[in-house]
Symmetry: C2
Subunit: 102 residues, 2 copies
DNA sequence: CGATATACTTCGTGATACGATGTATATCGT
DNA sequence: ACGATATACATCGTATCACGAAGTATATCG
């Protein structure tokens, strides 16, 4: 998919991936993969950004000798998803405008 | 609407605005306005980019003493719109993923 | 005659997706 | 026993891009 099109979709995809239960980097990538391709460098950039924006919280825990950082969504994160749903109406009308035959 | 979300949508909106008949900057902004807000500086950047990518062609003509640059879509431009329609299927599935309740 | 609309242009800035690269451990197959 | 692969997180540099600000210039309307 077009890179530019992914912008604005990725943040919200990551939030959706931790919406129901906390998750960690590698799992998020796998969960999101069926919908969008997401590289590790991109994901960790996004996670840091969302953390700064207080849309998620982090806790570190050891899992089988390896460190894992578990991410949980906050109310602000849930609010971000709601905003996206609002924006979706506009996006759909844009699609109609672009795809219309005449 | 979220700026990041607009990326990838704007190019295609501009192409859609000249899809059926040639148009010019000021008119494109007005035609697209009901769907997305688009500033002049953004539009002219986009027009230049699309021209470089050979998705549109330009001709200059005088109109009531003022210069106007008329833009027409090319086959590559029409192809770009088709690509967007393809991407749309993915975008919709992303929306389902993000907006699902569970 | 000033405000507003039309019309195009350039510059600088901030946001951001991604490839490349690096570190480190666990598991699986042969 | 050992190499490949999967798991897991991190950093850096680059290219792309939307936008506000500011500028130039003419036409129209009240």
């Amino acid at each position: 998919m077009d890179i530019q099109l992914k912008r604005g979709l990725l943040d919200v995809c990551v939030l959706a991936a931790i919406k129901n239960e906390e998750s960690y980097g590698y799992k998020i990538i796998k969960d999101v993969k069926p919908y969008v391709e997401l590289s590790e460098s991109t994901l960790y950039t996004i996670l840091k950004r969302l953390e700064t924006a207080e849309m998620l919280t982090v806790r570190s825990a050891e899992h089988e000798g390896r460190l894992r950082k578990y991410y949980s969504i906050t109310d602000a994160g849930l609010g971000r998803i709601d905003e996206f749903k609002e924006d979706w109406k506009e996006i759909e009308s844009i699609y109609q405008f672009v795809a219309r035959e005449c």
